[in-house]
Every structure is written in C-alpha cells, then in structure tokens.
C-alpha cells in the first residue's frame, strides 16, 4: 500500500512508533517541566474564560452542528466558496495532495520573481512540509509567528498547535535568539535577557525589516465563508496582519474542511475559538478579507484548497467528525499523555489527542508510527470534554484501534481499499479467538478454570512471550481459589439445580 506523501522533515515511515518516542521524551526533565508549567497555566485560564459564557453548551452544540452540516454538503459549499472568492477577485487552486499543493505554491511564488516569502503560522503548510519544498526550489520562507520563529531559528520541529515552541522555556528561547538570529537577519539585541517582554521586542525588531520588504506572503486560514468568499485569520501578535496586508501577493493554503456556510456562522466560531485556544474573550487581532480590495492590501490573492487525506477521513462515518476541528489545541492542554510525552512523539504537524485521530486518518495506518497513534491515549475523555466542537475523540481512537487490529475497508487517496490487520496484534487476535472458543464450550471453560485455580500459587508475576509488554506496566490479576461457577454450585447448588 502506498503511503500518502506528507513532506515532513522526518519521513513518518522512518519515525519511531509513539511508545519509543515517548519513552525518550518522558526522560527529559526540562521538557516535562516546560510542558507541565505551560499546560497547567492555560487549563485554569481556559476554564475561567469558558465559565464566563452561560450558553457555552449551546454554542458548542451549534458549532458541531454547523461543521457537521458543512461536511455533509462539502462539495456544494466548496463550489460556492470557489465562486465567491473568484467573484471577489481571488484565484482558486485545488490540490489533491501535499505534492500538488507544494507545486502550486512554488509556481505562484516563482511567477512573482521573488525568492523570499513571509509566512503566517499555518497548520496546513506545516502538514504539507511547504517550507522544505520552497527551500528545495531556492525560496526562503520566513516564519513570523513568535513561536514558529523560535522553532525555525532553533532548527526544531513544532510540538503544539497553538504554541509550536511550547517545549522551550524562556531561557532556552533567549539562547536560541542570541545564537541564531544573526544568521537569518537582524541579530538579537546585546544583553538580551529572558524576560518575555524583551524576547517579544527582539522578535519585533528582527522581523520588522522582513515585513517591510516582503512582496509575497503565505498564510492559512481559520475559516472560509462559502456564502461571501471571506477568509478569516485569528491571531495575537500582528504578524498575521502584516503578512495579510503589506505584500503584493498573498497565497492562502486552506484545508477543505475549513469552509463554513454563512457569514452568520462566524458568531458561533468567533466565540468558541479564542476562549478555547488562548483563554481570551477575544484574541487581539482578527483579520477578514474577501478577494482583493483596490488600493488596500495585496493586489493578487490565491486560495489553494487542500485535500491531502481529508476526503479519506470524510469517507469514514465515525472518523469524519475529526474534520470539525478548529485547531484550538484545548485537547492538547488537558491531555495527560501529551503533557508527559510532548508533541514531537506524535510525529506529525498535529500532536496531542487531535493528532492521534487526525494523522492516522490523513496518512493511513501503514507506518509503525501512524498505527501506534490511536494507542497514544488512556481514553480518559478529557479531550472530548473540552473540545469546542464536541469531537468524540475517544470514540474515534477506539475506531482506529479496531482498524489497526482487525483491518478492513478504508479509503486511501480517494480509493476504497481493504487493509490487512497489523502484524503486531497477531497474539492478541489469537488470544481473543481462543477466548471466544472457550466461552462457547462450558466444559472446557470449567476444566480450565479448575486448573488455573489449583495452580494459582505457581503463576508468574509477569507474562512471557507476546504478553510480556502488556504485563510490563500492569499487575496480573490474582486468581481466586474457586471460580464464580464453583462458588455458586457450592453455596446455592442444591436450590439452583433442584
């Protein structure tokens, strides 16, 4: 089976499975402290921001319903959005996969004659490995979001949807700025300390020249309104406004699931997103633009609509709800697994609980990493509780585990296919088959239970063979001296059988 090319810096096929990566990251005391500090800070704030709205449950239900409806009529709304954007002066391009999106954007940048672009933080462009593709074509992409800048300067990978450098504390950020800023442009100010305000000032100075000279910008979008052709970018720093306003050409790469039907629907999502994401009543800056405006902002606007596995997820009746996601990252911030393992262990642009359900649906479960992601969860359900569009993440995790263990019908790059069960689960399947046979044969069950009871003192504390990994982290249950059936026979037998 072919794997969907994703263009990530580390090919996922070569990436270690989640348990191996997590085993390493959980040993990193600094990383764990950074993550614990950051996620606990935001948890309490988010809860307070949500508690301010007495109708949160209704907003959440409406958000889910709007997204569900859109997904169920996605073809209609995509065509409507395309027509509206075109009528407003934009150009619409369609990309079936990462390679097509890379090729379209590269061509559009080349057509301008520019060799440098500024970028607004965008999950879609991270997902398709756009920066690497542009670099291969001789085009330098400058990340302008503070956290993305930290990641880019540190030659690092993002580890969080909202705060890609969440794994870095302020002292590490200062060191990265001091060491690497000069190589990319204006160096860090002398005597830079680790005060967050000073670090923000250093980023401001470093990027100002880039904004003023940039001719091409690349962005994603939080929402695309089909009815009006309006794109919405929600941000904090003003780097988004800079990129969306100052350059002559704007290229926005937008996943096809970002479309919403109507202008009015923004009233739901603009209440859900900031409070879930940064725990703010409203984020500092929200930009909305519809095509091009004469004399204000970019003269050329290109919208690249990206599939890259989204239609494969759409084909799964349980899994398609993952496409409701508005990328707020609330599920990351509450997840006990994410807090300890960190974002890099998930091996894709989408870490945390949402990544554990999105990545295997976008890429398939063929690689060891992608097949392990549905297991990167304790199924505690905290992610579902905080999700502003009520994605039942545990339900999809279980669905994907079933797919990994049992195989079955899936859609891969638009084509229906039947995948075989994963190899690693042969022992589990054999055990389940044996159990099914035993429970169907009462005599065998009774004989087996007797044998196990009689020999209970001799049982090892850990399993051997394929069961060893299971008992590494679990106590084996103690076998009682008699089975329930024996106890029933002994105490109630005469009446029961009379």
């Amino acid at each position: 089976m072919t794997r969907i090319p994703l263009g990530m810096p580390t090919p996922p096929g070569a990436a270690p499975a989640f348990p191996a990566a997590a085993a390493r990251s959980t040993q990193d005391a600094t990383l764990r402290e950074n993550l614990r500090h950051a996620t606990h800070t935001i948890r309490a704030k988010r809860a307070a921001a949500v508690a301010e709205l007495s109708d949160w449950a209704e907003l959440r239900a409406a958000g889910a319903a709007i997204k569900d409806h859109t997904l169920r009529h996605l073809d209609h709304y995509l065509e409507q959005a395309e027509a509206a954007v075109t009528a407003a002066g934009g150009q619409v391009h369609w990309a079936a996969d990462a390679a097509e999106a890379q090729a379209i954007v590269t061509r559009l940048v080349r057509d301008t004659g520019e060799r440098e672009v500024v970028k607004v933080k965008s999950m879609a462009t991270q997902e398709i490995g756009l920066n690497e593709a542009l670099a291969a074509a001789g085009i330098t992409a400058y990340e302008t979001d503070l956290a993305e800048l930290i990641v880019q300067l540190g030659n690092d990978l993002p580890s969080h949807i909202l705060v890609p450098a969440i794994h870095r504390n302020r002292a590490e950020i200062r060191d990265i700025f001091r060491e690497h800023m000069a190589r990319w442009g204006r160096p860090a100010p002398d005597g830079l300390t680790d005060e967050p305000a000073e670090l923000a000032e250093a980023a401001r100075l470093h990027l100002r020249e880039k904004f003023l000279s940039a001719k091409v910008a690349i962005s994603g979008a939080n929402f695309l309104v089909a009815e009006t052709g309006t794109l919405v970018v929600v941000e904090s720093e003003g780097n988004g406004r800079m990129c969306l306003t100052l350059p002559e050409t704007l290229i926005s790469v937008v996943g096809i699931e970002k479309v919403i039907p109507a202008w009015r629907d923004l009233e739901v999502f603009l209440q859900l997103l900031p409070r879930s994401s940064t725990a703010e009543r409203m984020n500092p800056y929200t930009s909305m633009w519809t095509g091009t405006s004469h004399g204000d902002g970019p003269a050329a606007f290109h919208l690249v609509l990206l599939d890259n596995g989204r239609t494969d997820a759409l084909a799964d009746q349980v899994g398609r709800q993952a496409l409701r996601c508005i990328r707020c990252s609330a599920c990351l911030n509450v997840c006990p697994v994410y807090e300890r393992a960190g974002g890099h262990a998930y091996g894709s642009a989408y870490p945390g609980p949402i990544g554990a359900i999105l990545t295997p649906q976008l890429r398939g479960t063929a690689s060891a990493l992608d097949a392990s992601l549905p297991y990167a969860s304790s199924l505690c359900g905290a992610c579902y509780e905080v999700c502003p569009v009520a994605i039942d993440i545990p339900e999809i995790l279980v669905r994907l585990r079933e797919r990994v263990v049992e195989g079955g019908a899936v859609t891969i790059r638009g084509t229906r296919a039947v995948i075989r069960p994963a190899k690693g689960h042969a022992a589990e399947r054999a055990a389940m088959r044996a159990a099914r046979w035993t429970f169907d044969h009462p005599r065998a069950l009774r004989a087996g239970q007797r044998l196990v009871s009689r020999t209970r003192r001799l049982h090892p504390r850990r399993l051997a063979g394929p069961g060893r990994a299971w008992s590494d982290t679990r106590e084996l249950p103690e076998v009682p001296p008699e089975s329930f059936r024996e106890w029933w026979q002994r105490t109630r037998g005469p009446q029961g059988t009379a």
Partner: protein
Amino acid sequence: MVAADPGPAGDGMSSRGRVLGRVRRALADVRAAEAAADTAMAAGPGTGAGPAAEAEAAPPAGHAGQGDAAQDYAKRDYAVRDYLRVHGSRTAPQRVALLAENLADYRAHVHHAHEAGLPAVIARLLTERGAHRVAVPHGLPGDWLSAVTAERVPDSADLTARELDAVDSVVTGCAVAIAETGTIVLDTGPGQGRRHLTLVPDHHLCVVRVPEQVVDALPQALELLAPQHPLTWISGPSATSDIELNRVEGVHGPRTLDVVLVTVDEPPTG
C-alpha cells in the same frame, strides 16, 4: 471560470474534479440517507422523521447538480441556535462601562471625552506618547486634530509601509465596538484608513462614539459589518502567548492602544 491545475498523472482529470469526486464518493452514505428520508417524508406525516432528521433531510438527492434544490436547503437553518445573542441585559451606560472595563483588561488605555473636549484629549494623548508624526486617514472629522501640533501624514495611494514605519501614531474612528469582548472593529470606512495605516505605527488612537457605536455582543457586530470590506478586529494591543503560554503585550502591531470613548452628552463622571 477558475484556474484548475492539471492533473499530474495525466489521467485527464483536474485536481478540482478529483477532489470534488472524492468528496462526493465519501458522502455516498449521506446522500443515501437523505434520499431515504425524503421518501419517508413524501409518504406523509407521522412516518418518524423527527426534527433532527428534517434538519438534515434536505436537499433532494442529487443536489450536487446545483439548481434550486441546493439553494433551497442552504437557506434553511442547519443548526439549533439556542445560544444567547447577548449575555445579560444592559442599559447604554452599562454597555459603555463594560466596553471600557474589557478594553482595559486587555491593556488598552481607555479615556473618556465629551465631543467638545475631544480635540484637546487627542492632542494631549499624542503629546504624552511623544508623537512627532501622525498618520491621518481620509474622512477623519476635521476638528479631531484641530489641537494637534505634530506633523500630519495624510493617507494616500502612494504612502508606503516603509514611510509609515517612520510615523509615530495614527488616529482613527471605528465601525463598531463590542462591549462583551472589549473589541473595536475597523472596516476601512471614512476616518479609519487602509489597513496598514493602523498596523505599522507603534501607537493607535481610536475614537469610539458612545453609546451609538457600541453593541453588547459579537453576533450583533457581525450583523452590522459587510464582508466586502477588509475587516480588522482589535482587542487590546498586539500580544503573544508564545512564551510559556503567558500573555505578553507588544509584538508586531501597535504596542500602545488608546481608546477614547466620546459622548455627545455630558461626559460620564469618574
């Protein structure tokens, strides 16, 4: 109508056709369910199609072929909107007070002025911020800057971002302000200027006419705004949460945001 990218595999199908085809195949179960629901509804009332089923029942099968059916179902509401339009009921002064409170909570500097005193307040604030050069959008009411001594830089088609970088402040009005979120919205209308005008200078002074430009809640603001114009929603000065998920004010946008709430009646006391 639109630029479609040729398929790389030479299979004769555009990427547009490929993506839309995949979407339609992925939704085969939805179309089948809708066709069944339509049949049930056509059979008459009481056939078990509940409100939820009705909400998703339209359109008749084959809406992908466009036409009236698609228009028809798109007009129906597809979500239960029993969330609140406004969180609480307020008098006009209460609404203005909440706006001031929430603006200040996100580190905007809030000032009150009576209409007659507005030029003096603007002049004082610009002096306090050390503004030598002030960007002026088209359509700014003539007397607002009557007391200002700083050099005025009028917006014009050839005013570049680099030139704006040498401007200290910008004075604008706004389209609407939202009390519950502490947000001001600019729609590039008269007195607001093109988008870069309020972005590149480090100090933005925004005048809000109260109470008439203030709404309670976000849904009301959306109704007043036209998406044909570029919109900028501003809630406090530029900020970031990127260092340890703590909010720090002051990154790329204006680091100082002064909001002057101007009344035509008596100024609020206190």
